[in-house]
Symmetry: C2
Subunit: 203 residues, 2 copies
């Protein structure tokens, strides 16, 4: 399973944002919604072997983790407004305290928490950190189609998160020579993994 974790430094953990002015009112949650699309959707289908965790550090006193599981998610549409509405409804329906993941809509889970809570799930797994200064993904051995891939948002990755990931043994990877939107980094990473590990269904 491919697991993407995107750290939103300012992205709203509250549903109190406006669909008419998403970038400003949601702390740039729009960038994270586009990552959901890139990570989870194929042409006319969902990547069932993918989960995406958004780390929402903005607005509320307590950060939250919103997870979308491709295996069980329903009603995922590619347009940004539909994804924004889905996330808004999920965040708005949440109880005040959520110490553990709770599925609030099909395939969508929410909990209070931050990066350390994600890392507590990763024991024994391969961790990767997407970073312009990392090793070229095309030259790296990626032993299986499995792993946790951590990415920053439009502001990059903060030093504390980076240090924490490195202490957990995350390997730095880069996908190309230019500085790209996080969603494009996800697409390029999927592209490389698909080439190596995709097995067509028998005819």
């Amino acid at each position: 399973m491919r697991r993407f974790v995107i750290i939103g430094q300012t992205a709203s953990a509250s549903g109190e944002f406006s669909l008419e002015d998403l970038p400003s009112s949601s702390g740039r949650l729009d960038a994270l919604l586009r990552c959901l699309r890139a990570a989870l959707l194929l042409s006319h289908g969902v990547r069932r072997d993918v989960s995406v965790t958004l780390v929402l550090r903005g607005v509320l006193a307590t950060p939250r983790l919103l997870r979308v599981n491709g295996a069980s998610a329903k009603f995922l549409r590619p347009d940004e407004r539909s994804l924004a509405l889905l996330v808004k409804k999920t965040l708005s329906a949440a109880p005040e305290s959520l110490p553990h993941f709770q599925e609030l809509r099909p395939g969508i889970e929410l909990r209070d928490g931050d990066l350390p809570d994600v890392l507590s799930e990763t024991a024994g797994a391969k961790l990767y950190l997407l970073d312009e200064a990392g090793a070229d993904v095309r030259e790296q051995t990626l032993p299986t189609d499995d792993g946790w891939f951590f990415l920053g948002d439009h502001t990059g990755l903060d030093v504390v998160s980076r240090a924490l990931l490195e202490r957990h043994g995350a390997v730095s990877l880069c996908v190309g020579p230019l500085s790209l939107h996080t969603e494009d980094v996800i697409t390029l990473l999927h592209g490389e993994l698909d080439r190596r590990f995709f097995v067509p269904a028998p005819a």
Copy 2:
């Protein structure tokens, strides 16, 4: 210069669509807007050496070509609603008849026309057709960073357009083993071209 041409079979050539229900009311213009982002935007910047032409075949009796030039475009933001508003204003401000390209906003041109009108500009240039059955882009010689890249929308490419492109010598390329959104195909294509042709500015 990299030139992308995306053929929208149903995408609105009129500005009479709703930002609150873009996919239905615009004939899936949303998918084409996401292609604009993928083709033109870097993290905190615009690809100045890129132009994108959207072939808008929906709604109006006459199809239109909407072109965004990275070299001169202003106010390009990555979120879908901002791009939709920009295109809506451009289409709404257009005179009824536009036999030639006219710049209606900075870097954004519009004209009546369809694929043959685009092809009339391509004499002597390399043409590529993005296609799941094409040759692997990683194995192809791409002699320069220049070229016209033609892509279908979420419905694929119609047979008439495909035949026309093939008669003009377009080479079929594919970017990987899965069927992806057009915007992801653009990102993967950029990824390959960036690796081959990107020259960092001298320090």
